[in-house]
């Protein structure tokens, strides 16, 4: 030892150091898992941390914020597991008192109180309306609120009179309300950056260690519905996908709501976990550019028909979700989803995959240079009279495995029938910020979000001259149907109008519906009661029923 220059003091220090490191390893280890922290604590592992708790704002429109705040600014009604509105803080469903002018009434339950003991009243709803129509406040959408002429309050009861008809009034009225006594006179663009002081729902905000976790505890004042059985729910923010799944496997969380990711396949057959999956309202589609900056061939209906017939949408859905969501159906309607029984009419079903038909359509219009029969090894691409070669710039987001795979499948299918796709993968910022609104693309694949009552937004996406009609599609028949739907209060009639508009879309083909995205909830065997909700309510919609075994 002397030769190495090591004395007794060094040895003692080394032993101490080893002991210290050992204590770190074996001391805090103990039986792992969230169970040891508290019997009444559920850990929700999530992929994204909200920047603030001011959700639905232009600077924060993340779903991650809604997961926390939906049970704080509790709704008069909320969407349940079957996407139907059910009264929560309201005594009963709000009523359409008059159609002209459109007048709606609602009443909060007597037991609806804020966590600071003050009652929830119509004044809270009125204060929320004023926030949404204040042009200085940067809310994401003012739709519906800006159509309201007046709100008259009488304690818990309220009457809303609309200046213009607004068909989706029920979900508008049923939304969560801010506490009037908290937001009075405040600059809402700066509110709720780090905390929310009150709650009208089953949980309330306790603490936020940024970059690590956000803790919500049971709201003892909540009497308007079933109370939480748990003491608290902790959102742990683990941004890396692999780490998130490994953390679940290592017992660091009870529940997660992952994006459709390949790692789900690893956990789906694990008996320690329950994996719930349902198609949600968001849907993947390909928009076709009909404006001046798109390929001239796309203005020809027969070319769009060839595209539609040349993509095997069912095979695509199966290839992408074979293990994650087997049996996911293709989408045949741009407004309604296959799980919306009674309203979903598969207008696009007539465009069945048939590569031979693609070739015959194009040849019948004088297109040349393509193959005589579909072939996987085909390299011959059609050229059509007056519009040139059928080679289209196909834009989508970069860095998304599912989209990359989807492009490969679609590109192979179309090429076998003589249509070429030129890949253009861009970051989401570039794609949605520059490319999409510029109209300088031929085909663009992305997801539109949505909810049970968002169907009337078809008007903004497919009606002539609308700001978000990026594909420049215009058919007065479709526009008339979608416009009328926004003013139709009768739900069956509204759905009929929307289907009428969709039927026209299926004729004109400004867009190709692909599939509804599957939504997933993964929970451990130790947690019961967590039920997937396909709307933006998020998995904690029924947190009151959650229990730990």
């Amino acid at each position: 030892m002397q030769g190495l220059g090591v004395d007794k003091r060094s040895i003692a220090l080394s032993v101490l150091a080893v002991a210290a490191i050992g204590s770190l390893v074996f001391g805090p280890a103990a039986p792992a898992g969230p169970e040891r922290t508290s019997a009444g604590t559920v850990v929700f592992i999530h992929e994204q941390e909200p920047p603030t708790l001011r959700g639905g704002w232009v600077d924060n429109s993340l779903l991650a914020t809604g997961l926390v705040t939906n049970n704080i600014w509790y709704g008069g009604q909320i969407y349940d597991g079957t996407a139907r509105l059910q009264p929560r803080l309201f005594e009963a469903k709000p009523k359409l008192v008059s159609k002209s002018p459109q007048t709606v009434s609602f009443k909060y339950k007597a037991s609806a109180v804020w966590s600071d003991g003050k009652p929830v009243t119509c004044e809270d709803w009125k204060a929320t309306w004023r926030v949404f129509v204040n042009p200085q406040f940067n809310v994401v959408s003012r739709a519906g609120f800006e159509d309201i002429k007046s709100v008259t309050c009488n304690g818990k009861a309220g009457t809303i009179v609309f200046a213009r008809p607004f068909a989706a009034w029920e979900s508008l009225v049923s939304g969560g309300a801010y506490a009037a006594h908290v937001i009075r006179g405040k600059n809402m663009n700066q509110m709720f950056n780090d905390a929310i002081p009150v709650s009208s729902g089953p949980w309330k905000f306790q603490s936020w260690q940024r970059g690590i976790q956000l803790t919500l505890v049971k709201n003892a004042h909540f009497k308007a519905g079933p109370a939480m059985k748990l003491d608290r729910v902790v959102f742990r923010y683990i941004l890396d996908t692999n780490a998130r799944f490994q953390a679940m496997k290592a017992g660091e969380g009870h529940v997660m709501e992952p994006q459709p990711q390949l790692q789900i396949a690893e956990i789906v057959n694990d008996r320690d976990f329950k994996v719930q999956r349902e198609p949600e309202f968001a849907f993947e589609h390909i928009d076709i550019q009909l404006g001046p900056r798109g390929h001239p061939a796309l203005k020809l209906l027969y070319v769009r028909q060839a595209l539609m017939t040349g993509i095997n949408r069912q095979q695509l859905a199966s290839a992408l979700f074979r293990t994650l969501a087997p049996g996911l159906p293709k989408l045949d309607n741009l407004v309604f989803k296959p799980f919306e029984k009674g309203t979903y009419q598969p207008h696009f079903k007539k465009w069945a995959y048939d590569p031979s038909k693609v070739i015959s359509i194009l040849k019948s219009k004088g297109c040349t240079g393509g193959p005589d029969a579909p072939s996987d090894t085909n390299t011959a691409i059609f050229s059509c009279p007056g519009v040139g070669r059928l080679a289209f710039r196909f834009f989508t987001t970069a860095g998304n495995q599912l989209r990359t795979l989807a492009f490969e499948v679609i590109e192979r299918q179309l090429k076998s029938a003589g249509i070429e796709l030129i890949p253009r993968f861009q970051t989401a910022g570039t794609l949605f910020g520059g490319t999409l609104p510029s109209g300088d693309w031929d085909l663009i694949m992305f997801t539109y979000g949505g909810g049970p009552d968002s169907k009337i937004t078809s008007n903004t996406l497919y009606s002539c001259g609308e700001d978000q009609n990026y594909g420049n599609y215009c058919n007065p028949k479709a526009t008339a149907a979608f416009n009328a739907a926004t003013r139709e209060f009768d739900v069956p009639k509204r759905h009929a109008l929307l289907n009428q508009g969709d039927a026209q879309l299926a004729v004109d083909l400004p867009s190709i519906p692909l599939y509804t995205r599957p939504k997933f909830v993964i929970s451990t065997g130790g947690l019961t009661g967590a039920v997937l909700n396909t709307t933006s309510e998020g998995t904690p919609w029924n947190v009151a029923t959650w229990q730990l075994k």
Binding site: P31, T37, Q190, I212, A243, Q246, G251
Partner: protein
């Protein structure tokens, strides 16, 4: 020396200005920070315009850069686009976390590397030397993300087979970390895997430098003289050899430390550690130029400062080096 330091600092200001303008330009042209809003149906144009006006997003990049400089100087880097929150408090928080990680990793790496390097040099071509050399090359060749993932998988496997989780998979602390010594222990427990990952490459690199440096010093004339004078081998090695062999390591560590303070981007991302690296990645993903710029200024300053420290330390430790 003083004039050298002043000159270097003045150069540094120019470097910072040029770097900040270039990065601001690149981040600004790489995409629209409000892009995701375009796929939200019924978006309020008024709201979007409010943000565009308040952040001058419609102005040319040089003009926006001017606004940013003003904000950075007079308003502590201003606010982020996402969340409209002040940048500086978040930056301080992540800096502290990164400092904890990097300090521990570097200190441990230096200690281990010195031990391995010195012993390898003294036992050149021994079994230990060959083993250390092999592991050094392995450590240098192993991608950080892969090492991190393997460690996570290992912990999960141990947990699934024994029910014991030896180390946390991710994050900086437990749900209930406690306070005082309990908090410190909990934090240390969470940092074990990330520190290990960071240490591997550092130990591999530093130990090679130490070994090479020791071998060079040990064969120098003045050590032969020391031995000829009858000094014990331990004294020859530790007092005369080791101290001089450390000089290049000081430079290397100072430079490396400056770089790491910008955040161990891969390690922090894989382990979801709320540090500088993850802060930068998140800001970049959100196309938010303002936190990216704040990060850049802090990181660039650290690199410049530690480069200067390395130069000064080198000159101090080696009297043959003189700066004019």
């Amino acid at each position: 020396m003083l004039s050298y330091v002043v000159r270097r600092l003045l150069y540094s200001v120019v470097v910072l200005v040029a770097a900040s303008f270039l990065v601001f330009t690149f981040v600004s042209v790489s995409g629209d920070p409000l892009a995701q809003l375009n796929v939200i149906p019924n978006l309020s144009e008024q709201s979007r315009q409010n943000v565009i006006d308040s952040k001058h997003l419609d102005d040319p990049i040089p003009v926006r850069y001017g606004y940013w400089v003003n904000d950075a100087v007079t308003n502590q880097f201003g606010t982020a686009l996402q969340g409209n929150r002040p940048i500086l408090p978040d930056l301080w928080r992540v800096m502290k976390n990164t400092l904890q990680l990097v300090l521990v990793a570097e200190l441990l790496a230096i200690l281990v590397a010195i031990g391995v390097g010195v012993y390898s040099a003294r036992r050149q071509y021994s079994a230990f030397d060959y083993t250390a050399t092999t592991f050094s090359f392995l450590g240098l060749a192993t991608p950080v993300f892969w090492m991190a993932l393997m460690l996570q998988v290992l912990v999960v496997q141990v947990f699934e087979h024994t029910g014991y989780k030896i180390f946390p998979i991710a994050s900086l602390s437990s749900i209930d970390p406690g306070s005082g010594i309990h908090f410190a222990l909990d934090r240390a427990h969470h940092l074990v895997l990330p520190v290990l990952v960071l240490m591997v490459a550092s130990v591999a690199s530093y130990s090679r430098y130490i070994r090479a440096s020791m071998l060079e010093v040990m064969s120098s004339d003045y050590l032969r003289t020391a031995r000829a004078k009858g000094l014990p081998e331990r004294q020859v090695t530790m007092r005369h050899g080791f101290r001089n062999a450390l000089i290049p390591l000081v430079t290397l560590v100072a430079l490396s430390f400056g770089n790491l303070l910008g955040g161990a981007i891969v390690t922090e991302t894989v382990f979801s550690l709320d540090g500088m690296g993850l802060y930068f990645v998140n800001a970049l993903r959100a196309n938010d130029p303002y936190p990216v710029m704040a990060w850049l200024m802090v990181t660039a300053t650290m690199i410049i400062v530690f480069n200067l420290v390395a130069d000064i330390a080198y000159g101090y430790l080696d009297p043959r080096v003189r700066y004019e």
